[in-house]
């Protein structure tokens, strides 16, 4: 199952740091997102793109996670040679993350 079926997402940029929100459509899925979408998993998903560290922040009040990824945007939107210098399309890449099917919980 793709993360896209459980959550929606938006990317923001500040300098060379990208942040990607992962927001549960159904707050009931928040615990599952916390379990499956770890900072390590996101770091691995973006291997080769994130040259710094991935930090995860939790917002249970709105059933959302926020991933902050340093050294990711080719020096930042003003310097980057990338086509998508803001890294705005990264949210779509994260939603392609494969989640294990779940029976219970």
């Amino acid at each position: 199952m793709k993360l896209r079926t459980l959550a929606h997402s938006r990317t923001g940029d500040k300098g060379d740091t990208s942040n990607i929100s992962v927001i549960a459509y159904d707050p009931g899925d928040y615990e599952r997102l916390c379990r499956e979408v770890t900072a390590a998993r996101v770091q691995q998903h973006f291997a080769g793109l994130v040259h710094g560290k991935v930090t995860r922040y939790e917002l249970p009040g709105i059933a959302a996670l926020n991933f902050v990824m340093t050294f990711t945007l080719g020096g930042g939107v003003t310097r980057s040679l990338a086509l998508d210098a803001h890294g705005k399309s990264l949210s779509s890449a994260l939603l392609d993350l494969e989640l294990p099917e779940e029976g219970g919980a």
């Binding site: 938006r10 929100s21 927001i23 998903h45 009040g61 709105i62 003003t78 998508d84 890449a93």
Partner: protein
């Protein structure tokens, strides 16, 4: 007494659509119309314009926007707050007064907020970039601009003069929205909890259409009606800071808990510590609930005392970017594009083009997320090769696109649609300055 102030957000960036702001002024029943128009690099580019012309350096769309909304705002008593002053708020204020006079709006008072320009202070001290750690002074005359993110203080001061239009240069985006609330409700700068929620309000509204369904649609998963007629948001704020986000009923788009959540986390790092000039805002206690059709209530922002330093964006010339693109289509398109890529790579070596960074992308294959995430995707019908490089001089940067262009007669079969460019790179890094070093002031111009 329960009184509420209705803030309209008229632009989320400098090139944003014009009509949604007109719609807000006409039908939004708003008290304030705020235009946030300054991206990170905008002031540096505007400063270059100001060096060429002393009366230039403010937002190029200022005149178009204000001509569209000023008559309505003047008639209804809607006050305007905007950072369209960019590198020259005073000239922007003079221009605004002149436009008002032309429109027959006599007596319109325009206030300019000054003091964000800290170019000299940043070059004088031993200041180092937060990002790279290198000293600013080492850049010498490559530094174009240095502007501090001012807080709500000088904007509140400007509103207290009775000015109908307040024009700033660099200011923290949420402060443009928080200042009218502080002015109307008399919130104190010591009331950090209130300023935390005020920051939530400003942060939600500052990107305009991004909270009313813009930048949100994903067909089949998140469908949004009427995006071509997207309405911009209204924040209906109570004196305790609680806000209901809505839009003009007839406008396109939608305001839902989902659109509000996406915008709340947009460009946020640690949600417990969102650093602002007047407060360290804490978004972790925020709750978001639907209270009607296209009406969402957002409460629970908190805050603590500010850090005592202000972020300063320093714009500087960072070399030149050269670029060339060419397309291939039909059977074997990707193989021909890869062959073209190898040819250009070898040519750049053979002809000794000097660059400090060189990048090859196949648009349609791997340009957005790299080769690893895209490797399992089906082969596209058409693909576009893109070659970019960072060079020391414009002449060297020009050679990148030229090498791509020579693929027409020297490269693989069927390449078409060459585009090439070479441009100066104006980069931005930041420095922290003690707030006490920054002296803002307000100048009022009467029409």
């Amino acid at each position: 007494m329960t009184r509420s102030i209705r803030l309209g957000s008229g632009a989320g960036y400098s090139g944003d659509r014009i009509e949604p702001a007109v719609e807000l002024a006409e039908h939004g029943d708003i008290h304030y119309l705020v235009f946030e128009c300054l991206a990170e690099r905008t002031i540096a580019l505007a400063q270059q314009a100001r060096r060429r012309d002393a009366e230039a350096g403010f937002d190029p769309l200022l005149e178009t926007r204000l001509r569209a909304v000023l008559p309505i705002c003047a008639a209804k008593g809607i006050r305007i707050v905007t950072n369209m002053g960019a590198a020259n708020p005073l000239a922007a204020a003079r221009k605004t007064a002149a436009i008002a006079q032309e429109l027959g709006l006599s007596g319109l008072k325009v206030a300019a907020v000054l003091g964000d320009d800290v170019h000299d202070a940043v070059l004088a001290g031993d200041h180092r970039f937060e990002e790279s750690g290198t000293p600013v002074a080492a850049l010498g005359d490559r530094v174009i601009s240095a502007n501090a993110y001012l807080g709500a203080g000088p904007i509140v001061e400007a509103l207290a003069t009775g000015a109908q239009v307040v024009i700033t240069g660099r200011a923290a985006d949420p402060a443009l929205f928080m200042a009218p609330l502080m002015h109307e409700f008399g919130w104190s700068f010591d009331d950090h909890a209130r300023l935390g929620q005020g920051t939530v309000v400003g942060h939600l509204l500052e990107c305009a259409g991004q909270i009313t369904g813009g930048y949100f649609a994903d067909p089949g998963f998140k469908d949004v009606p009427g995006l071509a007629r997207l309405g911009f948001p209204i924040g209906e704020v109570s004196d305790n800071g609680d806000v209901v986000i809505s839009k003009v009923a007839a406008a396109g788009g939608q305001v839902t808990t989902a659109t509000c959540k996406e915008q709340l986390l947009y460009e946020i790092h640690d949600p417990k510590r969102y650093l602002q000039p007047d407060v360290v805002a804490d978004f972790t206690g925020v709750s978001i609930e639907s209270v009607g059709a296209d009406r969402v209530r957002v409460v629970g922002g908190r805050g603590t005392a500010p850090t005592g330093t202000l972020k300063v964006s320093v714009g500087y010339v960072d070399g030149y970017a050269g670029e060339g693109q060419i397309s291939y289509g039909g059977p074997g398109a990707v193989a021909r594009a890869r062959l073209a890529l190898d040819i250009v790579r070898e040519r750049l070596q053979l002809t000794r083009v000097q660059s400090s960074e060189l990048r090859f992308d196949l648009i349609g294959v791997d340009s957005l997320h790299g080769g690893r995430l895209s490797q399992r995707a089906a082969e596209p019908y058409e693909v576009r090769l893109r070659v970019t490089a960072r060079c020391e001089t414009l002449a060297e940067a020009t050679r990148i696109g030229n090498e791509v262009e020579t693929l027409y007669t020297n490269g693989p079969a069927g390449g078409g649609g060459v585009f090439r460019s070479a441009r100066e790179i104006v980069a931005v890094q930041s420095v922290l300055l003690p707030s006490a070093l920054i002296r803002s002031r307000v100048e009022v111009i009467g029409a």
